[in-house]
């Protein structure tokens, strides 16, 4: 149970850190920030990789989870990069 207290602490601290870091974002970057953050949420891929695979159902679930998280990661980063490349100063 102690481990949950510790990880819960990490969770709260990270959310607070995120709120502090991002509180002032110029509106130009709203879309790239959203899309870049979206790519980061593809971190679920790490969780999907370590799922137990002791049955064919479990294997199928793990495969799909990795697949969809991978689409999220690759698509998210590339589209963010494409968008950011368009922004330029005069």
């Amino acid at each position: 149970m102690e481990i949950y207290a510790l990880l819960g602490f990490v969770l709260i601290l990270s959310i607070y850190l995120g709120l502090e870091l991002i509180s002032k974002v110029p509106s130009t970057l709203h879309t790239p920030l959203m899309s870049g953050a979206n790519a980061i949420s593809g971190i679920a891929i790490v969780g999907a990789l370590i799922l137990s695979t002791d049955s064919s159902l479990q294997n199928a679930i793990a495969f799909l989870a990795v697949l969809f998280a991978s689409i999220n990661v690759f698509g998210g980063y590339l589209v963010t990069n494409r968008m950011l490349k368009m922004f330029k100063k005069k």
Binding site: G18, S27, G47, A65, N72, N81
Partner: protein, 459 residues
């Protein structure tokens, strides 16, 4: 054995490094000069986190092939998509992230939770991940205009009811281990109800409220990943997921503030049908103008502000708008763009479109920068925007949009409103701007009208 514990130690160190890179990455993503580098850093963090995980999985080839297929699909979509379709693309990717966490929690349930806390985490992750998944798919459908179901239709009402049922069933599922009930397969019911509930969560929300919903779904996908991290006892999932949750939450709040509405009001109430109030009746004559007269006024203007809205996106007029801006500048006119935070269908939608058309971002101004100098502006050109320039928001306390911060174009010397017809905006509120003394209506397709102005300038 010592090899295994070494590997676990290395994994943990790499996870910490990845977490730090994610934190700096997202921080840099919030600043114009470092954004590209920030995105790169966070993708590098993702790469090392995946690499250090995959060396220790049961059947690496099987999972690597899943990554490869995902990489091909994701990259193809990302590189091919048109910039005008970015909102729905972000929604779609977001949904896939939600689906991945939904599947993680499902899989963990099958390998049997050993304590009640795990049971709680599984149920919550299933719910957030599932709602994010189907909610995002509906958002995708609405944004790409493949899905048009009215808020008042019976289908919407049925799904909305299912959404509320799914919340109640979630509460039941949380308590399930303590209840002695007849044998129903409650977990399957939860899976199905959650997925249907996600549809009901987004279906009733209108197009103009999409910037809020899409930010909220973004936040939820992060929270779901963080909960999956708690479930799997994995630090990097918790940190990265929380960062996404926080950034999505900030955007949600910014969007809601820009509409002067509470998140609760946007999600569960929608605009009141106050458009039939007495103020709406009091209208007047609109003064139309044609392209050549508009050209003469623009030609002699010394400062022009362009205010784009969703209509510019629909008409795909961003490129001709940029051309007009450049011609005006060559003519000695000072040109600025007034960008309202909720113009369009996602946070920053107008910025992306104008950037695509090569408009430099330093001529884009936010309402608080442009409003104080509006009196000195000769011409404000409103292109397909409506609610965000509606003076009722500042002048009529009874209006449903009263209090919403707007771009005060009515203070400019002359206002051109480019519009297809006299229909009201998303909020369903009549816009008194159209009837003001200094307003001229330029009816027609925005792309054609601007194109006409451009060719007048060239002649």
């Amino acid at each position: 054995m010592s090899f295994l514990s070494d590997l676990t130690a290395i994994q943990n160190i790499v996870y910490i490094i990845a977490s730090i890179l994610f934190i700096s990455g997202i921080k840099m993503l919030g600043r114009e000069d470092t954004a590209v580098k920030g995105n790169f850093l966070s993708s590098f963090a993702m790469l090392i986190a995946v690499l250090v995980t995959i060396v220790d999985v049961v059947n690496p080839l099987f999972l690597i092939s899943a990554i490869a297929i995902g990489a091909i699909i994701g990259s193809t979509i990302a590189l091919r998509v048109k910039m005008t379709s970015i909102p729905e693309m972000v929604a779609l990717f977001n949904g896939f992230g939600g689906l991945a966490t939904f599947l993680i929690a499902w899989s963990e349930y099958n390998s049997l939770p050993d304590n009640y806390f795990q049971h709680l985490l599984i149920m919550i992750t299933i719910f957030i991940g599932g709602v994010t998944f189907t909610g995002s798919i509906i958002a995708y459908g609405k944004l790409s205009e493949k899905l048009t179901i009215a808020k008042t239709s019976i289908v919407t009402k049925i799904f909305t009811t299912i959404f509320y049922c799914s919340i109640i069933f979630l509460l039941f599922s949380l308590a399930q281990p303590f209840l002695t009930i007849p044998h129903i397969n409650f977990f399957t019911v939860l899976l199905v109800l959650t997925l249907l509930g996600g549809i009901g969560f987004v279906l009733p929300i209108g197009g103009g409220d999409m910037p809020v919903v899409i930010s909220l779904l973004n936040s939820l996908s992060g929270i779901a990943a963080a909960f999956a991290g708690l479930l799997l006892l994995n630090n990097v999932l918790i940190v990265a997921g929380s960062l996404v949750g926080a950034s999505g939450l900030i955007l949600t709040i910014i969007m809601a503030k820009a509409m002067n509405r509470s998140i609760n009001n946007i999600l569960f109430v929608g605009y009141a049908s106050a458009s039939k109030s007495s103020v709406a009746e009091e209208q007047g004559e609109v003064s139309p103008i044609n392209v050549s007269d508009a050209y003469l006024i623009l030609e002699s203007a010394s400062s022009v502000v362009i205010i784009p809205g969703y209509g510019m996106a629909v008409a795909q007029a961003q490129h001709v708008v940029r051309e007009l801006g450049e011609l005006l500048e060559e003519n000695g006119t000072e040109v600025k763009y007034g960008i309202h935070p909720v113009a369009g269908r996602m946070p920053g939608h107008m910025n992306v479109l104008l950037a695509e058309a090569n408009v430099p971002y330093d001529v884009l101004a936010e309402p608080e920068d442009i409003n104080p100098i509006m009196d000195s502006v000769d011409v404000a050109v409103v292109i397909g925007a409506n609610d965000v320039v509606n003076p009722s928001a500042t002048e009529e306390p009874g209006s449903p949009i009263y209090g919403m911060p707007i771009i005060e174009v009515h203070n400019a010397k002359t206002v051109f409103v480019l519009k297809r017809s006299m229909s009201s905006g998303f909020a369903g509120v009549q816009n008194p701007l159209f009837f003001k003394q200094n307003t001229r209506m330029l009816f027609g397709d925005a792309k054609e009208s601007i194109g006409g102005l451009v060719s007048e300038f060239k002649d």
